[in-house]
Symmetry: C2
Subunit: 300 residues, 2 copies
C-alpha cells in the first residue's frame, strides 16, 4: 500500500461518502453509508469513518484523510472555521484529534459572508474543484440542491455568494403541504415548467399565491400531476434565478451538482437566454479535496 | 325544545365545531371534537356529527343543520358545488342524504374563480357573516390563516379573490426546515418583524435567499430565536401583502380570523400605512351560517 495514498471524504447531513485515492487523484476504491452528521454524536464520528475506510489503512504509517461538508459544522465532529469572503475556496484546514494512529484527519473550512449573512460548508470544496480544472474561470457558479448556492468567482476567489432555500421548499411543498395531493414528482411537463419560470421572474411577488393556484387548477381546470410538478419546480427555480440576477451571467453559468438537477437548471437558464455548462458534483468534490491534500503535503 | 332551533357546524380539515342556536342567532350551547375531514371516510360523517349534537335533537321533529368548510369538498362528506365569482358569498345549499330522521343537513357552497384559478370553502361563510353585519361593506377582506385569503367585495358580492400559502409555509419552515434549529415560535421581536415586512415588499424576488439568511444570521451574527421567528413571519406576510396589492386598500382592510393572527396582520398593514379592523372568525362564521339558515327557512 503506497504511503502517498490518501482518503477523500464528503460528509454531509445524511450521508458519508469515502474514496481511496492515489497521489495522482485516481479513485482506487469507494464506499458510502448513511451515517451522516444528523445520525451521529461528536464521539461517534471516528468509528463511523473507520467502519468504511479501515480496509484502506496500513499499520505501518498514517494515512491522510481530507473531509468536507457538514462534518465541520457546530453539530458535526469538530467545528472547522469559516473563511470570510472574498477568499480562496480552500485554505487553513482544521486537524481533528483522533485515537486511531493509522489516520490523520483534516476538515476543509466553510465560507461565510457577513452582509448579506450567508454560510456554506461543502460547496466551497466543489468550487475549489471547478477552479482546479479551470484556473482562469471568472463568473457565476450555481450549485443547485436543498440549499442552492450562487457564487461569484473573481481571480480564483469567491467574492460573494447567496443561498436559496429552493430544494428544501420543493421537498416540503411537494411532500408535506396541500400540494402533495396534486404533485407527482415522477411526472413532468416542459411547457408548464417554462411558463412557471417566466411567471416567477416577471411577478415574484405573486409566488405564494401561484403556489396555491397549482392546487386550485387541479380542482377546477384539470391540471395534471406532471404539469403541477413542473409548475411547482419552475416557480421556485424562477424565483431563485431572479433573486440571483446580480451574479454576472455574461459568460454563462457553471452548474455544479447532481446531473439530473443540473439539466433542469440548464433548461431554466435557457428560458432566460443564459448559457450554462454542467460539472458533476462528485468529480468537483474530489478535485477540491485533492487540492486540499496537495496544500497539506506541500505545507501551503 | 323549540322547533325553530337549529345547529351551526364549522367542519374543517382537522376539527368539527358545532353550536346549538335559536332562531334569533343566540348560542344555546356548543361542542367540538377533532373529527375533522381528514380523519373521516364519507360514511363516517353522520355518526361523527351525531356524537356531538344528539343532546340537542328531538324525536318529534327534524332539526336543521347548516354546515360550512371542507366537509363540502371532494374528500369530505358530500361534494357541494362551487359558485363562480362574481357571486354572493352564500346561495344554493347542498342537502346531504342522512339516515337519522331527527336531522336535515345542508352544506354551504364553496366559491371558485377561473382566472387566476382559485377556490375557497368556509371563508365564503365568514365573508357572508361580515356582510350580514355591514351590508354596505365594499373593499378588501383579508382572512389570514394556513391558506390566507384576500377577497374584493363589491355591492354584496365577492368580485375576485386570491389565496396565499403563507400560514402553511410558516408552519413548514418553522417546524420542518433547516430554520427549525433557530426559530422559536413563542418568541417575537417587533422591530425584526417590521424590517422583514419592508424587505419582502421592496425585494420580493429575494425572499428564498432571505429565508436561508435567517439561519446564516443565527450562526454568524447571533440573531436571536425570537428575532428569527419575527423575521420569518414578516418575510412571508410581507410577500403576501405585496402580492395582494391589487385589492383595494383605500377604505382599509377588514381582517377576519383568529384574534392573535389578526393582530400580527394589523401590525404588518400598519407598517405600509393601511388601516384595518378585526372581526373574530367564529362570530363571522356563525353570522354567515345564520344567513344560510334564514335563506333555507325563507326558501330563497
Amino acid at each position: 500500500m503506497s504511503t502517498d495514498n490518501w482518503i477523500a471524504v464528503d460528509w454531509g447531513t445524511t450521508h458519508l461518502r469515502t474514496w481511496h485515492m492515489n497521489s495522482a487523484g485516481d479513485i482506487l476504491s469507494n464506499r458510502c453509508s448513511n451515517q451522516g452528521m444528523n445520525s451521529l454524536l461528536p464521539d461517534q464520528f471516528e468509528a463511523a469513518l473507520l467502519s468504511l475506510i479501515s480496509p484502506w489503512l496500513s499499520d505501518d504509517h498514517s494515512t491522510q484523510v481530507l473531509a468536507c461538508g457538514m462534518v465541520g459544522s457546530r453539530q458535526g465532529w469538530l467545528e472547522a472555521n469559516y473563511n470570510s469572503t472574498p477568499c480562496a475556496p480552500i485554505s487553513q484546514l482544521t486537524q481533528v484529534p483522533v485515537t486511531d494512529l493509522r489516520i490523520e484527519v483534516y476538515i476543509c473550512p466553510g465560507v461565510k459572508q457577513l452582509e448579506p449573512a450567508d454560510v456554506m460548508r461543502g460547496e466551497e470544496t466543489q468550487i475549489a474543484g471547478l477552479l482546479a480544472s479551470d484556473a482562469n474561470f471568472n463568473g457565476a457558479v450555481c450549485l443547485p440542491g436543498t440549499h442552492s448556492k450562487w457564487a461569484q468567482i473573481n481571480e480564483g476567489k469567491i467574492s460573494s455568494f447567496q443561498t436559496f432555500l429552493t430544494g428544501e421548499l420543493y421537498a416540503l411543498l411537494s411532500q408535506k403541504s396541500v400540494l402533495r395531493h396534486c404533485v407527482d414528482c415522477n411526472e413532468w411537463d416542459d411547457q408548464a415548467f417554462k411558463l412557471a419560470i417566466l411567471d416567477s421572474i416577471t411577478k415574484p411577488d405573486r409566488v405564494t399565491t401561484e403556489l396555491f393556484s397549482i392546487r386550485a387548477q387541479t380542482l377546477i381546470t384539470d391540471l395534471s400531476a406532471g404539469e403541477a410538478n413542473a409548475r411547482l419546480s419552475g416557480l421556485l427555480i424562477g424565483l431563485e434565478l431572479t433573486g440571483a440576477k446580480a451574479f454576472s451571467h455574461k459568460d454563462g453559468v457553471a452548474l455544479v451538482g447532481d446531473n439530473k438537477l443540473c439539466e433542469i437548471y440548464l433548461q431554466a437558464l435557457t428560458v432566460i437566454g443564459v448559457k450554462a455548462t454542467i460539472h458533476p458534483s462528485e468529480q468537483m468534490t474530489l478535485k477540491g479535496l485533492q487540492l486540499a491534500h496537495q496544500q497539506l503535503v506541500s505545507g501551503v
